[in-house]
């Protein structure tokens, strides 16, 4: 596999390779958040918190405890999942924006914790993390996650998650244990957040608490909403656009973020339900089908 990676490194410009690796990581992170917010409808604005838990846990485990890459990733994801489970519990009582505030607060607490965390190098951060993450590992994991996610959302459990988002009382009346499933969504979503974080720290070589601030959470949320809430292709598209946009906007140099902000506003005005929101393959087929009928008649 390393040979394959070497070959890829040889043929693809390192700059593009880097963007593609970051895209893969963002897709995993965003799919996790999509499950919580896009599919189950629980607004989370602290996804970067779970990411940082995964990033630090896995980095420390592989640097100081000699964990193998995969074991470190898995452990980081598990610890993040545990905290996701804890954060899921307030969803029993909190709704909407109150929940959003708790997730923001949680992520901020985590950030402050790492700012004061000795083994994580405090505010200076952690450097010298082995660079195990490469194009192959990221995309193998990303494709696996996409496949599993797709299967999950098409299953009985997936439909139940959507039902909670659409109408909680009606969902409960069909026998869905809404509290259990909301906590499950948080746990699984945070697992993916932690996994993305581990991949990230083992790619970046160096991490510090500011990498996982509020703006990172917002960036991930944007990916989910921009593409179309709850849709896997939408989330992938959102990740794609928002990973690439800053790179494309490099030509406008220091005006980059200005354009980025304006882009968000404009996209929302023209596609308020996300770019792929309300678009289904079924509808497209139907539309094409109808056109054929029309041409027959005329």
């Amino acid at each position: 596999m390393n040979g394959l990676d070497a070959a890829i490194t040889q043929y693809i410009d390192p700059y593009y390779l880097r963007i593609m690796i970051l895209l893969g990581i963002n897709i995993i992170l965003a799919l996790g958040l999509n499950l919580i917010t896009g599919v189950t409808g629980q607004l989370s604005m602290g996804h970067a918190g779970f990411m940082s838990i995964g990033a630090y846990t896995s980095a420390i485990l592989s640097m100081q405890f000699g964990f193998s890459y995969l074991m470190a990733l898995l452990a980081g994801a598990m610890v993040a999942a545990f905290f996701g489970f804890l954060i899921g519990i307030p969803t029993l009582r909190l709704e909407g924006d109150y929940l959003a505030m708790v997730t923001i607060g949680f992520a901020e607490i985590i950030r402050v914790f790492f700012l004061n965390f000795e083994p994580g190098g405090k505010a200076v951060g952690l450097s010298g993390i082995p660079q195990h993450t490469n194009f192959i590992t990221v995309w193998l994991i990303a494709l696996l996650i996409i496949a599993l996610n797709t299967r999950l959302l098409k299953s009985r459990m997936g439909r139940a998650f959507y039902a909670i988002r659409e109408n909680e009382i009606a969902a409960a009346s069909t026998g869905i244990d809404t509290t259990r499933l909301k906590i499950l969504a948080f746990t699984v979503g945070s697992f993916l957040g932690g996994l993305g974080g581990g991949l990230y720290s083992h790619y970046m070589y160096y991490i510090n608490p500011q990498d996982f601030g509020f703006m990172k959470s917002i960036e991930l949320l944007n990916m989910v909403i921009l593409g179309g809430m709850g849709s896997i292709p939408g989330t992938i598209l959102g990740s794609f656009i928002l990973t690439l946009a800053p790179e494309m906007l490099r030509i406008v140099a220091e005006y980059r973020l200005l354009f980025y902000g304006a882009l968000l506003v404009i996209l929302m005005i023209f596609r308020p339900n996300g770019i792929l929101g309300d678009v289904r393959i079924y509808d497209l087929k139907k539309r094409w089908g109808r056109k054929e009928v029309k041409t027959c008649q005329s």
Binding site: T37, L43, P90, R93, L94, E95, D97, Y98, A100, M101, V102, I104, G105, F106, E108, I109, V112, F113, L115, N116, I169, F214, M215, I218, L221, N222, I225, L226, M229, E254, Y255, L257, L258, Y260, G261, A262, L263, L264, V265, M268, I269, P272, N273, G274
Partner: protein, 291 residues
């Protein structure tokens, strides 16, 4: 020591409260977390700075000028970024639009003013008063007095005036208010204007008090103020005041008696604790779900 910290907490808390009021009023009417509100506060601080530095006006005039400027800015933001989305999209897309505005405004200011911290010139005498063992500065008195005045004024406006009545009606039911002949768009613009003016006043006072103004000052202040609004019970005006004051006091006390390196964590930790005990916030009304 304790009383001094309490006074510091009240000072900080009343600035949180001023910003939190904008969040809560807008939320009460259009159920939008106006993420650009922190940037309005930052623009207010800069507007005041420019008025003081380049036009040499006194602090009160600068504050009024900044309030007027931010009123217009608030109305403009609502027109451009929120109104086109109203009614035809989920609340989350409006939220993203608000985040877009927030990024846009802070970057705009960073491009214009640089990312450095700017200082207010001496606009107020550094006079310290003593009351028994308690020391307090003129600026602290000013902040407390101005905040109290603005909040009383707001309360009067919301409870006693015609437009206040319209605002309360809109916060109950936007559609019904529209059918009753209330110009809903005007009420919403007005709400943004008032909220922005309050934030601007907060921005100028914080700028002078901490002697620091910079383009990214809006983010953490905005987050804390939003936390204060939620803690008080979002949508409730007295809730925002109480939430702001208690968050400020908790933060200062936490720093004084626990640890300064966990300053932000303490504020958010308290918030989470409050919400776990009272899910609807301190002053929020329990919404019983209608089935």
């Amino acid at each position: 020591m304790f009383w001094e910290q309490l006074l510091n907490g009240l000072t900080l808390g009343s600035t949180y409260a001023l910003i939190a009021l904008g969040y809560t009023m807008v939320y009460g009417i259009v159920q939008l977390i106006n993420f650009a509100h922190g940037e309005i506060y930052m623009f207010g601080a800069f507007a005041g700075l420019i008025l003081v530095s380049f036009f040499g006006v006194n602090l009160i005039v600068a504050m009024l000028g900044a309030m007027l400027f931010c009123m217009l800015l608030g109305i403009l933001v609502e027109r451009i970024a929120y109104r086109p989305l109203r009614g035809k999209s989920s609340r989350l897309s409006a939220l993203i639009s608000a985040i877009g505005v927030s990024i846009f405004l802070s970057t705009l200011m960073a491009l214009m003013a640089g990312t450095n911290t700017h200082r207010y010139p001496d606009v107020i005498a550094h006079h310290t008063f003593h009351l028994g063992s308690l020391d307090f500065s003129l600026m602290q008195i000013l902040i407390l007095a101005v905040s109290a005045l603005l909040m009383l004024g707001l309360q009067f406006m919301v409870q006693k005036t015609r437009i206040g009545k319209a605002m309360r009606a809109c916060s109950q039911d936007l559609d019904a208010s529209y059918l009753m002949g209330i110009n809903v768009n005007r009420v919403i613009s007005f709400t943004f204007a008032v909220g922005s003016a309050l934030a601007a006043a907060g921005g100028v006072m914080v700028g002078v008090y901490y002697n620091a103004v910079w383009p990214y000052m809006g983010m953490m202040a905005g987050l804390k103020a939003f936390a204060a609004a939620v803690m008080g019970g979002i949508g409730s005006i007295p809730g925002a005041m109480i939430g702001g004051l208690s968050l400020g006091i908790m933060e200062i006390m936490g720093v004084a008696y626990l640890s300064s390196s966990y300053k932000d964590a303490i504020a958010f930790g308290m918030l989470i604790l409050v919400l776990l005990i009272r899910p609807q916030g301190l002053m929020g009304q329990k919404i019983s779900k209608k089935v």
